[in-house]
């Protein structure tokens, strides 16, 4: 304990000059958030934080106004990363201890090579719209359905005209090269070179109504997408194309997660959650404990799934619990947007009031 507090004091001492130098700059003219580096703030871990990821043993959280914070002591102390934009970041993922990506509003994609301490901009909404417009026009020539291709071009033109106001909402990187990002109004792009170049996937995902895509899950070459109004889609060809699945629910899904036994869990609005043991062909409803929406789900080291809802309640589900969602601990009394297990087994939750560390709930979970 003592050593930890000493370490955090040291970290704090190292951080303080860093923080003050940022604050001393004083208020300047307000620019476009897309071009404005995120402001250094004294207690960044108390900002609105939206998603969490692990980079090796390091924890990284992203959130409002380009806020990225990381912790090397399992969430006891946090430092703020340097980020070139101040739009809200919605999702973050690492493929190893160093390399990771984050996506967010205004169509931004950020990449890091040092475990999340420094980030660079790889893509923004204006280029996303241009990529989609180019792709739509290119595909139009060879399209089987000219009407659909025409609508796609019109949509892409509108996307370009709207300007970069649409967010990406989820990302999934297979390795340091290949990744898929999805977002609002069916935005979807893929890279095979670690983000150096992107190509639009919107013509290869069956999403005729342009619904928001909130979550991605991957089981080997099989990929799943979940989104607005019960949208579910699957790819059997390693994300080359996606076809829509029959949905068990008309409300929105916000999270997708694969259980250790291969079952797929999808959860969302008003506490609705479903599990599929046949790769999405059929879904079994999980009991709705309270009609409060689920925001996120994560897989713990022991293979159990952990779900969090907007009321700050945690539930676990595993092969053993079957269709039941068992409450874990007391409700936190505040909305939780994301949860992750730290290297020491403690849980970190993120939400509108910042980060919170729940020490040792894993023991409770395994009982």
């Amino acid at each position: 304990m003592n050593r930890i507090s000493q370490a955090s004091a040291l970290l704090l001492a190292l951080y303080l000059p860093f923080a003050t130098s940022k604050c001393l700059a004083g208020p300047a003219a307000v620019g476009v958030p897309l071009n404005t580096p995120a402001m250094g703030v004294p207690a960044a871990q108390n900002g609105v934080l939206i998603d969490l990821a692990r980079a090796g043993t390091r924890l990284v959280a992203v959130g409002e106004r380009g806020l990225v914070v990381f912790s090397d002591d399992n969430g006891q102390s946090w430092r703020q990363a340097s980020v070139p934009v101040s739009v809200s970041l919605t999702a973050v993922q690492f493929v190893d201890a160093q390399q990771g990506w984050a996506v967010g509003h205004a169509g931004v994609v950020l990449a890091t090579l040092d475990g999340g301490e420094h980030w660079t901009l790889q893509l923004d909404g204006a280029r996303v719209a241009q990529l989609e417009l180019d792709a739509a026009k290119a595909d139009q020539a060879t399209a089987a359905d000219p009407d659909a291709a025409m609508i796609r071009v019109q949509n892409a033109e509108r996307l370009a005209a709207d300007g970069p106001d649409k967010p990406f909402l989820a990302l999934e990187f297979v390795d340091a090269h290949r990744g898929l990002i999805v977002g609002a109004y069916g935005l979807a792009l893929q890279t095979t070179d670690g983000g150096a170049t992107w190509h639009s996937m919107m013509g290869h995902i069956a999403n005729p109504n342009g619904l928001h895509l909130y979550a991605i899950s991957r089981q080997g070459p099989r990929w799943f997408l979940a989104g607005e109004q019960g949208y579910l889609a699957r790819s059997d060809d390693d994300a080359t194309s996606f076809s829509q699945l029959d949905s068990p629910y008309e409300g929105s899904f916000f999270t997708l997660q694969s259980r250790a036994d291969g079952a797929l869990l999808v959860a969302g609005l008003k506490g609705n959650a479903f599990v599929s043991n046949d790769a999405g062909a059929s879904f079994q409803r999980l009991s709705v404990p309270v009609p409060i929406s689920f925001n996120d789900a994560t897989r713990l080291a022991d293979g159990q799934l952990l779900l969090v809802n907007q009321g700050g309640m945690l539930f676990r589900n595993s092969e053993q619990t079957g269709a039941a969602l068992l409450p874990l601990g007391k409700p936190l009394g505040k909305p939780v947007s994301s949860v992750i297990e730290a290297a020491d087994g403690s849980l970190i939750v993120a939400g509108f009031t910042g980060l919170q560390r729940l020490a040792q709930p894993a023991t409770a979970a395994s009982e």
Partner: protein
């Protein structure tokens, strides 16, 4: 040596021999028509006494703030558009038996809510509670959003209704706003109008009493009612003012006892008390005639007037007593005293008035009112204590024993007895060793005091309403609300002016959003609220509650839609003014100045022709402006007060050395007073400004009394030690009496339920006592080094008339009785002509 016996032979001693046509026009006019003067005074007292029953207690919001400051000007300009910001009462109704989802509780809440709705001065359209239709809930469904009033339309108090209410409250976003976090209480939010519908300004006293009676009516074993808000605070302040009467009585009692101890004459003591009280009655009677009201600050003025009246009255009486002691008839004694003292007394009172007048430079109306009311009081004292008192004394006289006592030490010395031990002790400070020691000690004190005073803070340092004590009912209620509801009571608001109908424009909201975010990172800022923040939250709500949409999106259609449905207060009716609210953890000056500096810099970098960020509204915003004014006024006032005092001393003494001797003790007191403020955790605030002016303005009197006599003797060639002793005998005792009566007069405030009055009492008492000590100890020590005794070669008899102009014009002279006496002794043979020559001011 002349014996008093010689004096008795003066032809004027006997009443029959006295020529009533002697003396100035004024003296003749007054003393030859004593009865008429008395009748006139009686009539005035009756009329003004009747008038004084009409004195109103009030504390208008605008009076307490520096209305000329640009921040306040901005606030006042947009006040009408900043609904519910400046002036609202929050009433928390607590269910002691559990949560608010209880039919009995809700019934009480409804009844109370209805009663409050009908109170005059309530801005009914915007009153809010669980029962008002504007309190709504919103929920996300698969199909979109749905909503309704929090209390269901078909509410019947049954279990189902209560369950629906509980669900609606969860969905209403009101937890932490209208409903406490623990859901055991809810709030009735009552915005107030500046004027009641009949056009009269809102009567806070009445409103507060009405709220109190509602509180006692509805508070029970099950229901607790807690009330906060400016109107309630002022109501409590005014209620606290009523207790002032008790302190006034105590002050009268103690000063009377002190005066009696000094004079040993009940008759004259009561007379002085009576005259001082007449002064207070006249003063209070004049207030309604001149359209002034008493507020929590000016209510202290009668204390000061009374105390000043007591000390001047005592001096007057001292003169008459000594004359009577020398065998004069009481009428003759009164006339002589009047002759000697009227102008001197007048000047002394004018000196005090300087202290008050300097307060007029502070552009805060309560302070200016205080200065004005105090000036009225001092003017009244001229009539009651300089005219009425000697006339009354000429009828009543003093007891013979007291008259003899008043000359006791003089006689004792003449009888060859030793000087009183205390005088001998004080005399030590005119000797090199003690003087050096005293000055060294003062230097140490000054240095220490200065070092400590560097930590002096500006503004109020305590949580809650700093005007009231921490354990007052109001502050307990305030702490309850802060604890159980999100927003603290310290609100700082920035106004953002935009073109008409453009308040929801993205580029503008983006700036507001940036400032909002920057302010939240400042120390002392708990939370913020703005239309930009609402847009972020609403986008989450409209996106089915997904936190991934927490962003101010550059989507004008969305921004317009959210703005159209935004609650009142974030922008004005024609969408040309946004308000950014900042809730603070305290209202310490440091927190406020950090905030102000940041917003100023932000405004400088971001203001355009179209968009202007304006400071400041909210109680903390007003306090920030007040702090700025007070901080500046504090410096200015020190400058003016000391400037006036130094000028006065220079005119009186005609010697820069004597001026230094008189002023340095005052400065030491001022420094130590600041150190005391640090020690007692009192910041420089509106209430402490008058303390500094009054402390120095009245405090200089002591130095004037002592120094003028001392100087007069030294100019005749007497040694410092001897001169000082003479000064002590004549004025020293009265200086001590004055110091003690003034200190007692203000020290009773320490028990006031109003915190700043208690602070003022402590500080003023300290200044009065310490200034007195300085005048008696440090002044002679400085004089030892600065005023070398000069050997006058000529005889004293010639010296006296050759320096007529060198004699102080002033107050000091008040004690002149003794001075005259000494000159007589020094110059045996001199008769009244010489006396008159020595005191041109009196003739």
């Amino acid at each position: 040596m002349t014996s008093p016996g010689k004096f008795f032979q003066s032809p004027a001693n006997a009443f029959d021999d006295f020529d009533p046509r002697s003396g100035s026009v004024l003296e003749r006019a007054l003393f030859n028509h004593r009865l008429w003067v008395l009748l006139l005074c009686l009539a005035t007292t009756l009329v003004l006494g009747w008038q004084s029953s009409r004195v109103e207690l009030n504390a208008s919001f605008e009076k307490m703030i520096p209305t000329h400051h640009p921040y306040i000007a901005n606030y006042l300009e947009h006040q009408k558009e900043l609904s519910g910001l400046g002036n609202a009462v929050r009433i928390a109704v607590v269910n002691k038996r559990g949560e608010i989802y209880d039919a009995d509780y809700l019934k009480t809440l409804q009844a109370l809510s209805d009663k409050i709705y009908l109170l005059p001065g309530v801005d009914r359209a915007y009153m809010k509670s669980l029962w008002t239709p504007a309190t709504r809930w919103v929920a996300v469904t698969e199909a979109g959003l749905e909503g309704g009033p929090v209390i269901p339309d078909n509410y019947d108090g049954g279990t189902a209704s209560l369950a629906a209410l509980r669900r609606n409250v969860q969905l209403s976003n009101e937890i932490g706003q209208l409903v406490a976090f623990d859901q055991a209480s809810s709030i009735i939010q009552v915005p107030l109008l500046q004027r009641t519908p009949d056009g009269r300004p809102l009567d806070y006293t009445r409103l507060s009493q009405q709220l109190e009676s509602l509180r006692s009516q509805y508070q029970s074993d099950n229901i607790d009612i807690r009330i906060t808000g400016f109107a309630k605070k002022v109501g409590d302040l005014i209620a606290g003012l009523r207790q002032i009467l008790i302190f006034f009585a105590v002050a009268i009692l103690i000063t009377t006892v002190v005066l009696y101890w000094y004079t040993r004459c009940i008759r004259s003591t009561l007379l002085v008390v009576f005259c001082s009280l007449v002064a207070v009655v006249w003063q209070l009677g004049l207030l309604p005639l001149l359209n002034y009201q008493l507020d929590p600050y000016s209510v202290l003025v009668p204390f000061l007037v009374f105390a000043i009246g007591m000390s001047h009255g005592a001096q007057k009486m001292n003169g008459i007593m000594q004359d009577i002691g020398r065998g004069m008839h009481r009428v003759v004694a009164a006339r002589f005293t009047f002759r000697r003292l009227f102008l001197a007394g007048l000047t002394a009172l004018l000196c005090d008035a300087v202290g008050f007048a300097v307060l007029m430079i502070i552009k805060i109306q309560v302070i200016q009112d205080l200065a004005m009311i105090a000036s009225i009081g001092v003017a009244v004292l001229i009539f009651t204590n300089l005219i009425l008192l000697p006339i009354l004394l000429s009828y009543v006289g003093v007891s013979g024993r007291a008259a003899r006592l008043s000359l006791k030490s003089e006689h004792a010395e003449q009888a060859g007895q030793h000087r009183h031990g205390f005088w001998r002790f004080l005399d030590l400070f005119t000797q090199r060793r003690w003087a050096a020691l005293c000055i060294a000690l003062s230097l140490v004190l000054a240095t220490l005091g200065f070092v400590v005073s560097l930590q002096l803070k500006v503004g109020d340092l305590d949580a809650g309403a700093p005007e009231l004590r921490a354990d007052s009912r109001y502050n307990q209620d305030d702490a309850f609300l802060t604890r159980h509801y999100g927003a603290s009571s310290d609100l700082f608001a920035v106004m953002i002016k935009t073109p008409a109908s453009a308040c929801s424009r993205y580029d503008i909201l983006n700036k507001v959003d940036a400032l909002d975010w920057q302010l939240r990172t400042l120390p002392g800022v708990d939370s913020t609220n703005s239309l930009a923040l609402l847009n972020r939250r609403m986008l989450v709500g409209l996106s089915e509650g997904s936190p991934k949409w927490y962003e101010l999106q550059n989507n004008q259609a969305m921004l317009n839609m959210v703005t159209a449905g935004a609650p009142r207060g974030l922008y004005n009716e024609d969408c040309s003014l946004l308000t950014l609210y900042t809730y603070l953890s305290d209202h310490k000056a440091q927190t406020l100045s950090g905030l102000v500096d940041h917003v100023e810099q932000f405004a400088a970098a971001n203001n355009t022709d179209e968009v202007q960020f304006l400071l400041a509204a909210g109680n903390a915003g007003i306090e920030a402006a007040t702090n700025i004014v007070v901080k500046q006024a504090n410096r200015e006032m020190l400058f003016w007060v000391y400037g006036a005092v130094i000028l006065l001393c220079l005119i009186t003494f005609r010697s820069w050395r004597a001026t230094v001797c008189a002023v340095i003790p005052l400065m030491l007191t001022s420094v130590l007073c600041e150190a005391l403020m640090v020690w007692l955790d009192i910041g420089v605030k509106v209430a402490t400004l008058p303390v500094i002016a009054l402390g120095v303005g009245i405090g200089v009197d002591y130095a004037l009394y002592v120094m003028s006599i001392l100087l007069g003797h030294m100019r005749q060639g007497t040694s410092l030690s001897e001169s000082y002793y003479r000064a002590l005998l004549s004025t020293g005792k009265v200086v001590m009496l004055t110091g003690v009566t003034l200190a007692i007069g203000v020290a009773t405030w320490m028990f006031s339920p109003i915190k700043f009055q208690a602070d003022m009492g402590v500080l003023l008492a300290f200044m009065f006592v310490w200034n007195m000590v300085g005048a008696l100890v440090l002044l002679p020590a400085l004089a030892h080094f600065l005023l070398p005794s000069k050997r006058v070669s000529t005889g004293p008899a010639e010296a006296e008339p050759s320096h007529p102009t060198s004699l102080p014009l002033t107050p000091a002279l008040i004690e002149e009785g003794a001075c005259v006496k000494h000159s007589l002794r020094l110059a045996p043979g001199l008769d009244q002509t010489a006396t008159a020559a020595a005191h041109p001011v009196a003739s």
